[in-house]
Amino acid sequence: MELRMETRDLSIYYGTNAGVKGVSLPIYDHRITALIGPSGCGKTTYLRALNRMHDLNPIVRIEGDVLLDGESIYAPKVDPVVIRRRVGMVFQRPTPFPTMSIFDNVVAGLRLIGVKDRRRLAQAAERALDQAALWEEVKDRLRQPAAGLSGGQQQRISIARALAVEPEVLLMDEPTSALDPISTQAIEDLLVRLKEQVTVVIVTHNMQQAARVSDYTAFFLNGEMIEFGPTEKIFTNPADERTEAYITGRFG
């Protein structure tokens, strides 16, 4: 099993409050790693450290290290912009750019890296939309505004947009929490197929979802990573009693 990313003793502080405390975690290549835990346990905070999104908030301080292919992404000479191209992100709420068409939304990341060739953009858009299981639904209205789509479609647009730049790792922060069951199903199916191309880290509130889609699961509680292991083991035979309490629904 190959490592794609790894965190070593990662702590994240909001001012003086530690949101994440000393988390060491492997993220395996072409696998789906789920982060579960009750609200406020630090799983989203942890996720956002993996592509340096915390850089946007000056009060956040990071200790420890995050490695991508064995190299620190927080090393002084590393450009966060480059990291974010390699490590994409999908957010909790769909975030289509409302002034752009569906097509322009999907290729927004490619335009950032200077791709202008129309055929290349068109091919990339079709491929990404196809991966996001949206191509058939929108292929006849690519020039229409993305804001006119349903919530589930908008979230798949956000996923297609993240996939279009061909990231190595895709971070997903509760990508289905604002969606109906059918859209959720579509995105879960998509996730399992995506493993071929990318490594996925997904934060979810929904334990069934973690059990259905992920290969590995990490359980977070109060900013600490309590237990990490193959998903099957975490859900059937957890080592820590707090993990067991959480997955059996006794708290959180």
Binding site: N51, M53, L56, P58, V81, V82, R84, R85, G88, M89, F91, R93, T95, F97, P98, T99, M100, A108, G109, R111, L112, I113, P145, A147, G148, S158, R161, A162, V165
Partner: protein, 312 residues
Amino acid sequence: MRIYGRLGDRLFSAFLLALGLAVLFIAGLLAWELWLGGRQAFATFGFFPFARGTAWDAVKGNFGAWPFIVGTVITSAAALALSFLPSLAAAIVIAEYTPRWLGEIVAYLVDLLAALPSVVYGLWGIFVLVPLVRDHLEMPLFLWAGEHAPGLLGALGAPIGTGMLAAVLVLSLMIIPYSSALARDAIRLVPREQREAMYALGATRWEVVRRVVLPYARGGIFAGMVLALARAIGETMAVTMLIGNSAKLPYSVFGPAATMSSVIANEFTEADGGLHLSSLVAVGFLLLLLSLLVNLAAEFMLRRMAVGEGRK
């Protein structure tokens, strides 16, 4: 069924309705009074001949508003064009590029520009800007044109300092806070998720501003421009002090001109005959129409530009 406080609710809404209607009534009354006052001019020359007339001669009793309409449109449009980039840049810097505390200070200073009385702008213009413009901009340009492009001299006009250029420069400075404040608010209202989504694609800060923030905030930015334009159209004191007040159709960049509001301010106290006075009030009526037109057009454009959730 009697609901507790229902009478109070009804009294309160009646009170609000009365206030709202009073505003409409006053605006209507204003337009009506201007119309009445200008009726003599409109009756003598005809509405459109008066609006399009280029003569303004108090001695011969011949009046036309066209030079002032043109003066108003040119000065306010030029001021808006000049002020657009600086005000947008100020808004972007304040909202995106500076730490909060520094942004607040800069924003306060920009807003302060709006609090200065316009007569102060006029004085500053007369004592500082006019000599500066005359000696360092108009004179060199004039001399250069004299040697290399004599054909331009007519369009430039005499380098005397006071005139359209000075008025436009001061006007553009005066309207910066209006467009800048609205643009700033609109930029701050762009949801964080929108910015983060673009950052997550590997965008730099400038790319986020250009591709996400500005398009999302375009409605507010446009509204700010409209407000600034309305302010420029109506600005009286500073313009009157700087524009040179010539009742002829503006023909040169440096040369004197007049705007609708400046001619009213300038001539109102010395208007002798009833027709002169009526013509000035008629100019005021046309000014009201122009402002109304600008606002209606802006409202129409704003509806088309609005960005919001659930918009199809």
